[in-house]
């Protein structure tokens, strides 16, 4: 479990995250939602040590973030950020192999190869594993990056907007895979996501943020409701329950 208590972050004079607390339990998918500039990505990158926090406490497992050795932590926590550079030419398999780096420091053994094969198979990209990532479509490339995170085989998986620029098919596939990671392999999966219907249909927990603060955190039922959504996004919402899932309609003319 990861526990964030009273996190704050300032860029210059602007307070991007203000006294935010949240809980990311193992075995569940937690989505962080909110409008642009709500501090979602900053919160996520503080929780996974890519950004230093100005105040507050981050507890990973039973140790504070600062007490973790960076190598050891890389075996516990994986993070995938938006806009991964694709200037360099790596094959899908080479990219996925980087996921094993924290475990074997670059010298892959048979066990590593097995896990890499599994991860590639799991994401359904076996056929393109020897192609260069700069030649793939956005969806295939994202699959490759997620396969790398899967191969890293960590308890905690953070993804910043994993569905960015993807079509519906790839989006659904990725969300299904993330759910399996959480439910079958007992990982804590945390995603920052803009599409609230994807968040509503595939998450166990939702953390709703606005202007750097956590407005509401809880189950889908608790967070995806008219009052909360309208207060966050400041537009009218209609929420319908369809086959047990909450769907938000916000397409107003």
């Amino acid at each position: 479990m990861i526990k964030l208590t009273g996190l704050s972050k300032k860029y210059g004079k602007t307070l991007v995250v203000n006294d935010a607390s949240a809980l990311f339990p193992l075995g569940e998918v937690t989505s962080v939602i909110g409008p642009n500039g709500a501090g979602k990505s900053t919160l996520l990158s503080m929780a996974c040590r890519l950004t230093e926090s100005d105040a507050g406490e981050i507890l990973i497992g039973n140790k504070l973030l600062a007490e973790w050795d960076s190598r050891e932590l890389a075996r516990q926590l994986a993070v995938l950020r938006q806009s991964n550079s694709i200037n360099m030419r790596f094959t899908v398999r080479e990219l996925v192999s980087f996921g094993r780096f924290p475990h074997s420091q670059g010298r892959l053994n048979d066990e590593d190869q097995r896990i890499i094969n599994e991860a590639i198979g799991h994401l359904g990209i076996t056929e393109i594993q020897h192609r260069y990532i700069d030649e793939l479509s956005g969806g295939q490339r994202q699959m490759a990056f997620i396969a790398m995170v899967v191969a890293q085989d960590t308890d905690y998986v953070f993804l910043d907007e994993p569905l960015n620029n993807l079509d519906i098919k790839h989006s659904v596939e990725i969300m299904q895979i993330l759910r399996q990671l959480a439910h079958k392999m007992n990982k804590a999966v945390v995603i920052v996501i803009h599409d609230i219907n994807f968040a509503s249909c595939y998450s166990d927990h939702i953390v709703a943020m606005k202007k750097g603060e956590v407005v509401k955190a809880g189950t889908v039922q608790e967070v995806v409701c008219k009052e909360v959504m309208e207060s966050i996004y400041e537009i009218p919402f209609y929420i319908q329950e369809i086959e047990g899932q909450r769907i938000c309609l916000y397409y107003n003319s």
Partner: protein
Amino acid sequence: MIFYSRILALLLLLVMAATSLFIGVADVSLASLLSGDQDTWSITLISRIPRLLAIVLAGAGLSVAGLIMQQVTQNRFASPSTVGTIDCALLGYIIGLVLFSDAGQWTLLGVIFAFAVGGTMLFVKFLQRLQFKNAVLVPLIGIMYGNVVSALTTFLAYRFDLTQSMSAWTTANFASVLQGSYEVLYLAIPVCVLAYFYASQFSAASIGESFAKNIGLNFEKIVFIGVALVAVSSASVVMIVGVIPFLGLIVPNIVSLFMGDNMKTILPWTAYWGMVLVLICDVIGRLVIFPYEMPISLIISIFGGGVFIYLVLRDKANG
């Protein structure tokens, strides 16, 4: 298939090496070597073999330096000659000559190295702050930065009456390499070995800072190690041979076109093609106006300029 291409590669290198050994004003032939002719042997040992080794070491060292540079800056167009490393090394050379004129070559190398590291780190830090998208801007700014540094070098050279020696380094030439004068270039060997040791880490850094941090690496440390290796390699080549333009830029790019960017795989091939390219250019330079020589930097500029333009156009087409 892989086996045969390796044999072929080895053959090409051996043929080029032999060609390099037997070209020159003094006649060196296999027959006279075998008959044990004293003069032939001393020419071979004092001049021809050192020249061959210098070419091979400089070619491998500079190409691998370019490869490291491209990976740690995440930019295809970075290389010792496009991020100011060479110009800073030259500045270090002049300052070393002025301040420690009677110290040995290792002191001088230390000064050159310090300037190369410092100057390159300055530029790399600057690059990390600028988050622009256009990759071609990096060499442009780098070359501008290099020109500013080299203006300072020229000023110092005029001031201390060193302009003549300066023109000797800015055009690389292997003609002056003799036994006892090139051994600093052996530094290329530890540089390549260390680069291979850190290869996967450089490759991880080439994907991005957060990518490298995610797998538990210290990004800043890797970048610094990379820059230090690049500086050692470039400093030694600048000091012994002079400036060989484009080499660190074109060789890694051509290799990566065919083999990708996984440094563990491409490092040996980058070193190999660096050796072969410099060998070929050196042989051409010795033959065009035989018995005189054209400096290698001239030959390689013609070839390298063409490849560079192709790479820029290709990048435009992709982007």
